[in-house]
Symmetry: C3
Subunit: 327 residues, 3 copies
Amino acid sequence: MAELYKGESINSDYCGRDILSVDQFDRRSVDMLFREVDATATLVETEGGTDLLRRKFIANIFFEPSTRTDFSFRFAALRHGASVEGPHGIQFSSVSKGESLQDTVRSFEQYADLTVIRHPQIGAVAVAAAVSEKPVINGGDGAGEHPTQALLDLYTIRRKLGAIDGKKITMIGDLKNGRTVHSLAKLLSLYDVEINYVSPQELQMPEEYVAALSARGVSQDSMRTLDGPLPETDVLYVTRVQGERFLDQAEYHRLKDIYRITPEVLEKAKSDMIVMHPLPRVGEIATEVDTDPRAAYFDQMKYGMYVRMGLLALVLGRSVLPPALQK
Amino acid sequence: MAELYKGESINSDYCGRDILSVDQFDRRSVDMLFREVDATATLVETEGGTDLLRRKFIANIFFEPSTRTDFSFRFAALRHGASVEGPHGIQFSSVSKGESLQDTVRSFEQYADLTVIRHPQIGAVAVAAAVSEKPVINGGDGAGEHPTQALLDLYTIRRKLGAIDGKKITMIGDLKNGRTVHSLAKLLSLYDVEINYVSPQELQMPEEYVAALSARGVSQDSMRTLDGPLPETDVLYVTRVQGERFLDQAEYHRLKDIYRITPEVLEKAKSDMIVMHPLPRVGEIATEVDTDPRAAYFDQMKYGMYVRMGLLALVLGRSVLPPALQK
Amino acid sequence: MAELYKGESINSDYCGRDILSVDQFDRRSVDMLFREVDATATLVETEGGTDLLRRKFIANIFFEPSTRTDFSFRFAALRHGASVEGPHGIQFSSVSKGESLQDTVRSFEQYADLTVIRHPQIGAVAVAAAVSEKPVINGGDGAGEHPTQALLDLYTIRRKLGAIDGKKITMIGDLKNGRTVHSLAKLLSLYDVEINYVSPQELQMPEEYVAALSARGVSQDSMRTLDGPLPETDVLYVTRVQGERFLDQAEYHRLKDIYRITPEVLEKAKSDMIVMHPLPRVGEIATEVDTDPRAAYFDQMKYGMYVRMGLLALVLGRSVLPPALQK
């Protein structure tokens, strides 16, 4: 479907569109989505789910396993009354027989109304979308995009803090290799926010992202420690230091714990700030933090399911809202 | 269930029967199925699915992975409102503990109303069906049978060309090892067709199939190149040269591309013929052919889901048609 | 949830509780469950299933594969109208990234209303339950507990023989390593039964279990051969000699067949006794026994699905029975 609007904003119309990149979104389209998600969350919390997507069939095509994204989409589909099936990484007999990505996707779209695709290579999902007649949602393509993660991060900030404009966001950890913070930073640039980047020299936010946000007028600052920005921080976004992305395992072990968030660290933070993490974590946040009311990372996962419910609905041309409230 | 009718035609009655082999079918039973499939396709295309198999539970037991067959059956079940679950190859902890095929199948039939079984060994599905109290559908047993593939191939011809009688079918590629063409040839012998076999010497249609079809009066011819039969061909059935079936990989690489179908090749074909392929393909049909209206292989996959919906319904004793139209 | 009642009997109230151990149960809670299961079985056998758990969402989190337990829970959920999803062993990308058990479970509970957890380590499921806000059902934790297996075994005895009190149960095989017989013995100690343990010296029922049952007044006897107890036995419970638990494979092969049950062996048994086995079997019961009406092991599997349907319903606060009949 991608040729219809690639590079454009999708604006008010999700129906039948691919969701490939955070670059598709503007404030209007994000607002529309979040209104849908708010109403969906209420329905899930009161009634467990809806029948909105009854007789809709979704194929989850995961060319690499991703426990969280895969099952978040699966439960999102099920809670809207849709059906969902699809292979997880290991099960691709046809791929092992030499089938192309395009053929695999075109095959699954014969069975389904929408496909969610996860792939280890940058750009692979856009390639698949270009040949697909059904809408495609990018479930993450290697070091490339993971738009639904960025949307759920943004929704978590909005829902927990009531607004996005005016907030000070501090991102900490591996900002070089973390796809999540790259996509989130881009989305945040639609809003009036300040962003601090806290990382070791080796793992800084890449210059291309900093430059892109500067061009959109976002105030950004980089530093080596959390001490400076923490007292003013509204959102502390902690990232996993992903061992699998390091060639030098000694460097990995040296760096992985130096920005560890503990209850002691949070003593200097505001009482109404939130701590986020895309999960899984491997020690970047002490488990003692879990019971702190500022720990938002498990709610973040739940909101992820709601955001995906909203996206599935809008892309499939449906809404839990009456038409007057959808725009 | 198999003892009830093994070796007989199932004729007008699918209810409660196993689907093990194309040999079970005659024109009457195929017609009955295809009427069901036509009506089912219309319902899927207008309403997404049906509730025909609500509260029916299907176990997909795949002793080897098969992306396409597995998910075709899964979406078929779901689109008829049934539930489907089952292990894919790798997940068989009980098999790794030494459990017999028969015990695995008898266990799953305690949970389900019908089982679909895929197994790497010839005859394994019939063995399983012999001990099973619930209907079994053969999802492919090694180099043996794959009756639902042959039925979907036949349905594709009928649906795309309006009829099967009178058509000239040309099969090309690895006709020796291709289970698909063997089963399809058998089914085609119920009709008044002409079949051409185009293959290298080493990969010819086995003599036993040629003899069986001759005995039923089917006109057949074998040749080395496509040049002769192509201009008269109504159905060009292209097969994958399956690398995993070759002991000599050099021979595989020599043969795999010599019958490659390209837009240039198709210039000599009729405008209303169709090109079929069981998929996955690995180069036998150039991707440039995909946009040719004669390329039927992706529709073939969709029709596969419809055919399996029809089979599941009839075997479970249900139909989307009123009783008067079922016979 | 576990802190609410750990170590106590759950008595009349399953709603919102974890199911971690057979030690939770007393006769009253077992009776309540079995009334629910009886009514559920009738509904499945007449109508295929129910909508009792519509809009309930269950996560099956299997840290090791277990074909039978996994799919028994899955079909149980589906036959009650619930939805079920979750990873099977191999698919845990987040675990391979170093995520803790607790984080994995807390993540899935954001999506689901109840989690079923299988784990290879003793105590792991209780650890998970302690951090979980949603009810957890133990699907087996290594050499630890497997309460739903013990409950289905007990239900099978009650259903096949009409009662449990007064019965003579003979357990045979590997009674040292068999988690199944340990849990069943504990549950049986709630009743007035006699238990015989038939095993080689090396594989005897551990003294701790024998002592615990003695303290509750259960009459127990140990012996090397089946000859003595067989003629009086009401329930012959055969266990798999689990090769994977032996360090010495020679010892395994020496012991595995010495207590093999054949039609000849059963000639000395009562006509109204039953033969049970948790399956999978690897030769402990000859397949010739399968057609003997006393062979109960396939029905045992079906009853397992019914028992899990009953547990899922009660834990989720629902019942197929009118309120007056639930207590």
